[in-house]
Amino acid sequence: METDRIHIKVRFFAAPREALGKGELQMDVPDGTTVGELVGLLTEQYPVLRPYTRFLNVAVNRAYVGMQTVLRDGDDVACLPPVGGG
C-alpha cells in the first residue's frame, strides 16, 4: 500500500540558490511532511545545501512559518537565507 504523496514547489534565493544551481524544485513528498522534515530531506538529497540549512527561514505561500508547519498539496515553499536588504 502506497503512502499518499503531495506535490509542492520549493524556491531558493541568494547563496543557496547559487549553490544548488537553480531557483526552484518541483517535489513530491509524503502527505504529512512538516517544514522541518522537508529541510531535512533537501539536505539529504542536495548535500550542497548543508552549509545554509541551519540559517534558513521558511515561508509557505509568502508567509513565514515555523518548522512544525505541515505542508499541503500545491504549497509554494520558499527557503529564505538571512535577509540583507537596505
Partner: protein, 140 residues
C-alpha cells in the same frame, strides 16, 4: 500607484515622495540607501540584490501598516527597493514617511529601515575585486 514596490529600475526620491501626495501633509522624511564603495575594509565593485518579490512587497506593506499603527501621526509610508545589479553611488532603497507635522516621523523612519533589514526577503551580494559574498545583517 503602489506605495511599496520591488523594482529593477533606477529609483527617484522625488517619485517615491510623490506617491504620498496629499494636501494635508506638511513633512516627509526619507531614508535613502546608497551603494557604498567599501564594506569592512573591502573595496566593493558592485552589488547584486535579489528578492522574493511576491513576498517582499507584502512584507514592505506590513512594515508600513505597523508604523501607521504604532505612530498615529504618520499618514502614509512608501518603500521602494531596487533589485538586480547596482553600481557604487546608486540608490538601493527609498523609505518615505509623511505626516502633518515633523515630530515623531524620525523615530518611525528608523524603525522602518531596521525592520526592512531584518524581515524583508531581499538579499545582497557584494562583488569585490577578488570574489563575491552574500551579506546579511543577521549573520556576517
Amino acid at each position: 500607484m503602489k506605495l511599496c514596490e520591488i523594482t529593477t529600475a533606477e529609483i527617484s526620491v522625488d517619485e517615491v515622495v510623490s506617491r504620498l501626495a496629499d494636501p494635508a501633509i506638511g513633512a516627509v522624511i526619507t531614508f535613502v540607501g546608497v551603494v557604498r564603495c567599501e564594506t569592512d575594509g573591502r573595496a566593493v565593485h558592485h552589488l547584486e540584490y535579489e528578492a522574493y518579490p511576491e513576498m517582499a512587497e507584502g512584507t514592505l506593506r506590513q512594515i508600513g501598516e505597523q508604523i501607521c499603527a504604532r505612530w498615529p501621526t504618520i499618514r502614509q509610508v512608501a518603500i521602494v527597493h531596487r533589485v538586480g545589479r547596482l553600481e557604487v553611488g546608486e540608490i538601493s532603497v527609498v523609505i518615505a514617511l509623511s505626516s502633518a507635522h515633523r515630530a515623531e516621523v524620525f523615530d518611525a523612519v528608523r524603525y522602518a529601515i531596521d525592520r526592512l533589514k531584518e524581515i524583508v526577503p531581499i538579499w545582497k551580494k557584494e562583488v569585490w575585486a577578488g570574489g563575491a559574498e552574500w551579506r546579511s545583517e543577521a549573520v556576517g
